[in-house]
Symmetry: D2
Subunit: 137 residues, 4 copies
Amino acid sequence: MTRTTIGAMLASSPARGIAADLDLLGEAVEAAGACAAACSACADACLGEPTTAELVRCIRSDLVCAELCAATASLLARPGAHDADVLRPLLEACIAACIACAEECERHAGMHEHCRLCAEACRRCETACRDLIAALD
Amino acid sequence: MTRTTIGAMLASSPARGIAADLDLLGEAVEAAGACAAACSACADACLGEPTTAELVRCIRSDLVCAELCAATASLLARPGAHDADVLRPLLEACIAACIACAEECERHAGMHEHCRLCAEACRRCETACRDLIAALD
Amino acid sequence: MTRTTIGAMLASSPARGIAADLDLLGEAVEAAGACAAACSACADACLGEPTTAELVRCIRSDLVCAELCAATASLLARPGAHDADVLRPLLEACIAACIACAEECERHAGMHEHCRLCAEACRRCETACRDLIAALD
Amino acid sequence: MTRTTIGAMLASSPARGIAADLDLLGEAVEAAGACAAACSACADACLGEPTTAELVRCIRSDLVCAELCAATASLLARPGAHDADVLRPLLEACIAACIACAEECERHAGMHEHCRLCAEACRRCETACRDLIAALD
């Protein structure tokens, strides 16, 4: 497996964070960053659909998920600052936001390709955060 | 008590969030926003001190706390998007970050006024988040 | 005039930023932070109105303005990191976002109190950013 | 060329933003998101080096660049909200932050692999933002 840029950066850091496995950590940073962008794009796309009024829940869960995933990506990328008392509940909040957004987007996935792709990004981030929490135990 | 701008905005929103008490919610948004700014300023000030190398833990906890408080303020300000499954762990993460940053800053409060003021901002945010979690129960 | 917390923090920092006048800088940090919260709250409130479909432009400009004001507040709070090549265009972007959001919100101010208050927060931030740019020259 | 997730999402949006070329826009969203993560990781790694005191400028430019790139990625991902009056100066601010961070990191690239990789991420983002500004003209 080729290491991504963020994976290589984490490997070159003098700090070791909460995760023994740097590939898990790198994947979580990437998945959270990609999910933040996907959710921002999905919220904007939903606002442009003629059926906007029916997509209010989707837009709101997109915006919450985008905000949380961006914060999660930023904090995970700083292994020297990792603190399980902070990261564990943050990962739980991020997982809850990803699930809520994925479930809502999946309801519209047949109609809107942006919702289908956003749900995929949320599920990938949910999995990466779960794997990271499991590695904390 | 005069209502702040954010308090008045929350009162004029058609949405009701997780907190029955809008003053508690408004205070949490304000306290988290002020804490984010204080932590960013404290990190930058610590980087300018001649003893930077001794302030690394303080800088790191400042940066974590700034990031989490900014996300918390943003999500709390959206009552129509409140979801206890997301907000409860997020508030717990924010409280943990505020405690860690306050404890570290308090160690330097006698030497650096920016640390003393930052610790105060963290304690105010910690209290506001605790009050909000209590109102969820 | 009583100095705010952020004003006192900037005064206690060993770093001097781009602005000779710390009160101007403190006001810009406060105004940008308050505007970010107001815009997030307004976007959420607009999503809860029965006329959401007519408020799409307002929601979008709220979200852009919230994001930019949050970044601006964060960067202004770090005087040791000030760099006019970065801050000048950032302040210009923030001013443009505040004007766009204020103009859109003002169109709905008679109908929605949250839009009226949001427009006020945008105008305050616009003014604070303009004053800061003027102090750079 | 395989389209990335964000590229496919932008293609499925009913909105068309400022850039006629969706691949340019998708690359800018990806490059800015990757740069934000790289800069956060580099700042944290620099704080862990024994020579922290000599890396203060690097840490500060990392933090500024991380904040601006995150905001830029978020706003570019919302084509329905694109406004050249906001985006042009924001891209200019982002480019200035990327150049400042790249130049500082390049000074330490021989010593610290995280600085070398961070400079690469900054240069990629700088190029993507320049290409996008050129496409606006």
